[in-house]
């Protein structure tokens, strides 16, 4: 059984990486979860997961003549399998985004839920690929016009590739903001459901400083509760891992960027 979700926002600063790891940890209560930092150009999941010194990362799996096995880049952390990406620009330039498909296919064969932390951009093939490869997207939004507008864009890109919307997470919501009305309005345009409204929290920044996911650093924080609620609302669909792997493999990605 496997379903791959791309956690996407279109715009940066919405807390995508925090959301990916939080949803991952919450889902890991019931599922075998693999989290991949698919933001190969601006990787930062490694800092959130205490993997700054990881020897082998996704970048090593995306180069032409790699000698690293996919399993070398998988780290068991916080109850999840985590595949971090390196931060070297040279490694990013040497990486062949098309290889992501093979890596994802191999990882998909052996997990229940795949979460792809996706780039906050749509301007290149490597940025769009996670959304192409995923079954569904989870859109992380802030209740602001630019964030909603970019969220709509990323959703249209996803739909163009047959990737549906599983739901929307309103993140970094301030105490004075009432998201209910915005969520109701946004629900007309976004697919899936509103998974949660996650309050802005100092614990998020502290967690990142400590190199731990929010749910490990501050499991009692209201933001952590909201992410658990979001994960509980996410209806992970049964699927045949082999089909997914097969589909990933057949996705035609012939060129380099």
């Amino acid at each position: 059984m496997v379903e791959a979700f791309a956690v996407a926002s279109g715009k940066g600063g919405t807390g995508k990486t925090t959301s990916t790891l939080a949803l991952g940890m919450a889902l890991a209560e019931d599922y075998d979860v693999t989290v991949i930092d698919a933001d190969t150009g601006m990787a930062n999941l490694l800092f959130h997961a205490g993997l700054d010194d990881a020897d082998v990362t996704l970048h090593d799996l995306l180069v032409d003549e790699r000698d690293a096995a996919v399993s070398d880049a998988v780290y068991e952390r916080f109850g999840m399998s985590v595949v971090p990406c390196g931060t070297s620009l040279a490694a990013f330039e040497a990486a062949d985004p098309g290889r992501l498909r093979d890596v994802v296919a191999e990882l998909a064969a052996d997990t229940d839920v795949l979460l792809l932390d996706s780039p906050a951009a749509l301007g290149s093939k490597s940025a769009v690929l996670p959304v192409v490869l995923a079954d569904r997207i989870v859109v992380v939004l802030q209740p602001t016009v630019p964030s909603l507008s970019d969220g709509l864009k990323v959703q249209e890109y996803a739909h163009s590739y047959g990737t549906d919307t599983a739901g929307v997470v309103f993140n970094r919501v301030r105490p004075d903001e009432n998201v209910d009305k915005i969520a109701e309005q946004a629900g007309r345009y976004f697919g899936g459901q509103t998974l949660a409204s996650v309050p802005e929290s100092d614990a998020v920044r502290a967690a990142r400083r400590e190199g731990k996911p929010l749910l490990a650093h501050a499991p009692e924080d209201p933001a952590a509760d909201a992410f658990r609620e979001a994960a509980a609302r996410l209806d992970v669909r049964d699927g045949d891992g082999r089909d997914v792997a097969e589909r990933f493999k057949s996705a035609v990605v012939p060129e380099r960027i």
């Binding site: 601006m42 739909h159 035609v252």
Partner: protein, 194 residues
Amino acid sequence: MRIPRGELRRSRVVDDAAAVLRAVLDEELTGYVVFEPQDALLLGETTSGVVTFEDGIPVLAYDTEREVGGRDGLEGFAVTGPTRAAVHAVDAAALADAHEVEAFRIPPGEPARVLAGDERLAERTVDAAPAARREEGRDQSAVEAFLADADAIEEIRSEAREEARARASEWGLDDVLADDARDSAAIEPGTDSR
């Protein structure tokens, strides 16, 4: 818009506007930076714009060629590639009048985001900004009004669909487009054939 002439600190061509914004943030500059994208110059276009700062935090942006301020102004000189950045220091009191022009003000993280695409720097800048400024760019009634305008939303969505289809061809991802997206791509020839 009138910005008092400042004292030139340095002027150089940089590969990336982020480097300048980072330096200005670190040195807590009060003054302004004139940006002149060099690639636009090569194409025979003059593009330039100004961002003003208070203690290293961006306050307003102005496209000096198109004479447009605020976020729209910022987008006017957001050209990728090398840019000449001239950093000027101005006394805070002298900038106060200019900084009252509401229409030209921008949220603190916008220049890093728009000029440099550097989300981390944008976040760092917002974190460093005074509490009152961190709230900027968040107006719930504006969000509700935006979402109530179904036509405008549909326009955003249909533009994004067009763009997704056009880029899929560009990136060789045609084959993985959903059937309905591909069908409509076949019916409507790409507009971006220039």
